[in-house]
Amino acid sequence: MSNRRRRLVPYFLLGPGILWLILFFAVPMYFMGRLSLDTGTLETGFRFNWQWSNFHDALSLYQTPFLRSFYYAGAATVIALLIGYPLAYAIAFKGGRWKNAMLLAVVAPFFTTYLIRTIAWETILSDHGFVVSTLQSVGIVAAGGRILQTASAVIAGITYNFLPFMVLPVYASLERIDPSMIEAAKDLYASPRTAFWKVTLPLSLPGVVAGTLLTFIPAVGDYINAFFLGSNNNHMIGNVIQGLYLTQRDYPAAAALSFVLMAVIMLAVLGYIRFAGSEALMGEEAVAG
C-alpha cells in the first residue's frame, strides 16, 4: 500500500500543472484546430468541413510577412545576444557591489508597460528628433532619410523590448560559474582569451540557449513593435493574424496561420535544442542527475 502510494505521489504533484495545461492549452488548441478546418463566412456561419486548403491559402497569401517575422525575430535575437552577453558578463564578474543596482537597471524599464515603452520610441526616433539628425550628420542615415517606419526601427524595438529576457538567464548561468574553474584554467597556462572560450563560454551556454529561446519565441509573434515602429511593409505575422481575426473576421484563416506559426516555432526550437545539446538547455546537473 505504502509502496503504491509512493509511486502515485508524483502524479498528484503533477496534477495542478496537468489540469492547467488541459484547461488553458489542450482545450483551446482543440477548438482552434477545429476552427482552422472550418469553411464559411461570418454572415453564413462557419461549418466544420475538413477544409485543409485553409492552411495552403493562408500561407501562400501571407508568405512574406511570415518569413519576415522569422527574419526580424532572428536578427533581434542575435543583436540582443551581442549586447546582452557582454552586459551580463560585466554585471556578473565586474559588477562588484553594484551588481544588484545594475540588475535593477536592466529590469527597471519593465515597470512601465510594454505599449508605453514602444510608443516612446516613436518620439525618440522621430524624423526631426535628436537621434535621426545625429545619425544623418554622421552619414549613417541618408539626408532626408528616416528610421521610424523602417525595418531597422522594428528590429531595434524588438531588441530593446526583449533584451532583459536575454540578459537575465545569461547572467544567472555566468553567476553560477565557480571562479576557481577559471583560476584553474589560468594555472594551466590558459590565456584569458582561451580561458573564456574553453571554460566560461561553455559553462554559460545553458543561459545563452535559454536567453535566445526566451527572446526569439515571443519576438516571432510580436506585433506591437511592427505596428508602431514599422510601416505596412514591415508588418509581421502577428499583425496579419490580428487583422484576419478582428478586421476581416476570417477566423479559419487566422486559426490556420496561428497553428502553422506554432508548429514552425516548435520545430525550429526542437532543432535548435538538438543542435545545442539538451545539457545546454537543462544544465549539466540535470542531465547528470
Partner: protein, 378 residues
Amino acid sequence: MLKGLRGVALAALILAVSVGIAACGGGGIGGGASEKVATVKVDPKPSGNMTISNWPLYIDKNTVPDFEKATGVSVKYIEDVNDNAEFFGKMQPLLAQGQSGGRSLIVVTDWMANKMHQLGYVQDLDKSAIPNVEKNLVPALQHPTFDPNRDFSVPWQSGMTGLIVREDLAPDVHSICDLFNPKYKGKVEMLTEMRDTVPLVMKCMGVDLSKATEQDWLNAIAKIKSAADSGQIRRFTGNDYARDLTSGDVDAVIGWSGDAVQLQADNPNIKFVMPKEGCMLWSDNMEIPVGAPNPTAAEAWMNYVYDPKNQAQIAAYNNYVTPVAGVKQVFEKTDPATAKNPLIFPSSKFTANCDTAPTLSGQEEQKVTAAFDAVING
C-alpha cells in the same frame, strides 16, 4: 483516502474539461442573418441603470451627470469603441447569442450599423419615445440608404473625411491625387478605415462613387498598394496620424474633420483641406443591440441628446458635425466663432462634392476587405 483523492482529482478534471467545452462550443460562430428584428419595448418612465458604449473623446464631462439628474437613470458610460471592425469582432460572439454584454446602447459608423442590422443584431426603435429625434434630426440625414426611415439608427455625430495638411511643409496639397506626388514620398499617410481611404482614392481616379463596381474598388486598392510598396505612403493609421502631423514626420494625411479642429487649436499650421475631389461624409449612429437591458433609458438618452441645448454642450466639446437642427442658433448666441466654422457647421456648398461610402454586398465586401487588408498588412 487515496481512492477518495483520486476520485476528486478525476472529477475536477472532467468538470474542467466539460466547462471548457461548454464555454467554447456553445452556440457556434456566425449565422443569425435570418432572425427577425424585434422592436424595443419602452416603459412610460425611464429608471434604473444603463451602459453606453461610445468612441473615445466623444462627449463632454457634464452631459452624463446632467442626464442622470434630469431622468434619474444611472449611466455607466464606457469608451470602448476604437475601430468599427474591432469592436464588432469583440461583440459578435455575444450578439450571435442574443446578448449585448450589458450594453443598452452602442455607437457605430453607418456601414457597421447597416451590417449589424442585416445580421439581426440590433432592434427597431419605438419612435413614440424619441419625439426630439423626429423633430430635430437635420433633413440631410433623415433618409440614408441603409435605413431610409431611421427605424433602428439615430446619428450621434457626423463628420467629414478629407485632407489634414501641414501648410508650412506642404502648401500645395489640395487633392487626394496630390498625395501620390513623388515630392511627398514617405511624407503622407492614409487611414486604415477602408471605407474612408479607398473611396477617396476612387474619387481621385475619377470614379463616380454612386456607380462604383467591385473592380473600381480593387483598382483603387491596387493604386494604394503600389504607392505603399514604393514607400510613397509612410504608413496606414487611425487617429495616431495626429502624432505624426504634430511632430512634422508627415506633411499630409487623410484624416477626420473633428481631429483637424482640435489639432489646429494646438498648431495653427495644421489645416483641414477640402480635397478638390470632395470628401467622404459619415455618421456614427446610436443603436440598441439585441438583448439590451433597459431600452427605455436608452431611448430617453437619444431623446435627451436631441434637445438642441443639450446637444450644443456635446458639439462644443467634440468639434464634429452635429446632426441636430437648432444647435447653430444656440452657438450664434453663446459662441459665434464656432457657429461660423465650416468644419462644424458645413454649408451645402462646402460639401457639394462629398459622398457617403458606397455599400458593398457581402461577397464584394469580403473580397475587397481581404485585398485592402493584404495592403495594410504588407
